[in-house]
């Protein structure tokens, strides 16, 4: 295939499916063993400075916030990040832990742009490579398939392509121009789920975002769950296991783990908290105050929940719609 055009963005994470296979073969324990541990243990054990990390789904929706807060407490540095996010990415950026990003969207939807992202990028501190949202998801999909790239018609003709690390070739079958998206394997991924058993078999309610593809694209996968359930429950509904145990390296029990984001059928997003954060985030010093209070100021997720308060959390549970 002849390369017609190349994006000039850097390939932040080189991804070779055969290297991934070798990694899995050497490092992944395929036995059904218990993996329940604390946030602290999981991050200490599996996250290193300089790692390429990612989170699923995004900031205000089923996001692994308790894990991200622990990453920040441990001060893991020079992280390279797949940037589809809101609060989780903002917190990492505010704590100065990110060096490079494959970015598709960091913002607050209805509330507009992120001040923290603006400061990080406009100052030149964080380097970015552009992608569309589907492009990032399909890069995980290619990785999940165990192949080096996946073709698409997204990004053709735009600067989004020019500032990506994708390539345009002529399709050998149809002769059409297609964009080839390189597979994206993550060093460590974080997913928050509704239920998991102690081995890491996971169930998610509602939309699955990109959990299926993402879970299969991670060298190390840390799961946080609202609820730990018995393996017999998993076996009763095997069709509901979106992430099987062998993909998972750690299971962390974190009720309200997506706070201040929502968790469908469990609790609604904490609008008051999100607005407070957005207000503080306008100012660099006040952003640090937020981090001091809600991240560095608590030892673990339990202390964080105590700080938010039982009453507030119960109110959020009452606000969520049922089925």
């Amino acid at each position: 295939m002849k390369i017609i055009e190349e994006g000039k963005g850097k390939l932040i994470q080189y991804s070779d499916p055969f290297e991934f296979r070798e990694f899995v073969h050497k490092n992944k324990d395929l036995s059904m063993k218990e993996k329940v541990m604390s946030e602290k243990e999981a991050i200490e054990k599996f996250v290193k400075d300089g790692d390429y990390i990612g989170t699923e789904l995004y900031g205000t929706v089923r996001a692994p916030m308790s894990l991200i807060r622990e990453v920040i407490r441990q001060g893991k540095k020079n992280l390279r990040v797949a940037g589809q996010g809101i609060l989780e990415i903002d917190l990492l950026l505010a704590a100065d832990l990110v060096s490079e990003m494959d970015i598709t969207y960091v913002g607050y939807e209805v509330y507009g742009i992120s001040n923290i992202l603006r400061r990080a990028i406009e100052s030149g501190k964080v380097k970015t490579v552009e992608w569309s949202n589907a492009a990032i998801a399909w890069r995980f999909k290619a990785a999940a398939m165990g192949v080096p790239f996946i073709p698409t018609f997204s990004m053709l003709g735009t600067d989004t392509f020019k500032y990506s690390a994708a390539k345009i070739v002529e399709c050998p079958f149809t002769k059409r121009k297609v964009v080839l998206l390189p597979a994206l394997y993550l060093d460590v991924g974080f997913i928050h789920v509704h239920r998991a058993d102690k081995y890491g078999n996971c169930q998610i309610d509602g939309i699955s975002g990109f959990a299926f593809e993402f879970a299969r694209a991670c060298k190390r996968l840390i799961i946080s769950c609202e609820e730990l359930i018995d393996n017999e429950e998993i076996r009763k509904y095997p069709e509901r296991t979106i992430i099987p145990y062998y993909l998972v390296d750690a299971v962390v029990v974190a009720p309200y783990g997506s706070h201040p984001g929502e968790m469908c059928y469990k609790y609604w997003r904490d609008e008051e908290h999100i607005k407070e954060f957005l207000e503080l985030s306008k100012d660099e010093k006040k952003t640090k105050e937020y981090l001091d209070k809600y991240v560095y100021g608590v030892k673990n997720h339990e202390e964080y929940l105590n700080l938010i308060g039982k009453e507030r959390l119960e109110k959020l549970s009452k606000m969520i719609q049922g089925r």
């Binding site: 789904l57 969207y105 406009e122 998801a137 997204s154 053709l156 003709g157 735009t158 989004t160 121009k177």
Partner: protein, 253 residues
């Protein structure tokens, strides 16, 4: 009737929706337009959201494209790959877009103002916009503020494709044939695109807006057809449904 610019834009967008079609919905005005359309004009409009929600009844307005209201009483809750692949396979009729800048061919910028390397303003980025603009059959672009900083000759960054350089350039570059921007709705008027040149043209002026005012506030040359209509004002019924049913919590209006 008293109504705001936002309410007018929502009503104009809702009237564009056809019944028994699919629409890719983003946060904000598109959600309100779709919900209003469902109640008045297109009861069987199927709303599709980026992260997997399909066919929600929108009884409560979502605050984001992944929140639980995007699939509440919906017909499917899948994931982003499924939704984007559905668009790429040609199953999504309408797509909603917006941006900080738009040019005469309906190309959009949501990435940076200024130079890419050291931008004056870093915007959120493409998100699903590039995919919606590439794969949906007809995109509807909402621009709440019509001025020269936003309706520009040249974008600082082309995040999402419209008709690229006009004429057949969109197809030539390899994007799916017969797709592209269909309408632009601003606070001043409703716009379409010339069939041959693919340049933006005025379709109707919002009540009280003159052609001159639109020209003054647009940095590129618009096509001004001989016949230009006046956008019908929101009806009493539209406003009642919008205020009392669609956004009764006043999240957006």
């Amino acid at each position: 009737m008293n109504y705001s610019e936002t309410e007018l834009i929502i009503c104009v967008a809702a009237r564009l929706m056809e019944d028994r079609k699919t629409a890719f919905i983003g946060t904000g005005i598109p959600m309100l337009a779709a919900a209003l359309a469902q109640k008045l004009y297109a009861p069987n409009l199927v709303c599709v959201f980026e992260f997997g929600g399909t066919g929600a009844r929108l009884e409560k307005l979502p605050l984001g494209v992944g929140d639980s209201r995007t699939f509440y009483k919906g017909i499917a809750a899948s994931g982003i790959c499924d939704i984007m692949e559905t668009a790429q396979r040609g199953f999504i009729e309408y797509g909603f877009l917006g941006g900080a800048q738009i040019d005469m061919y309906g190309n959009l910028n949501t990435t940076v103002i200024g130079e890419y390397e050291r931008p004056k303003v870093r915007l959120p980025g493409s998100g699903g916009a590039n995919d919606v603009g590439s794969h949906c059959w007809k995109t509807i672009i909402i621009m709440r503020q019509h001025d020269k900083k936003r309706f520009v000759k040249k974008l600082d960054f082309m995040t999402t494709p419209g008709y690229l350089d006009g004429k057949d350039s969109r197809e030539k570059i390899g994007l799916p044939p017969n797709t592209g921007p269909y309408r632009v709705i601003s606070n001043l008027g409703l716009f379409g695109f010339d069939e041959e040149t693919k340049r933006m043209k005025i379709i109707s002026l919002h009540p009280g807006v003159s052609i001159e005012k639109i020209i003054e506030n647009t940095d590129f040359e618009l096509i001004i057809p001989k016949e230009i209509e006046i956008t019908p004002e929101p009806t009493e019924k539209e406003l009642k449904v919008l205020r009392e049913e669609v956004d009764k919590d006043r999240l957006y209006i």
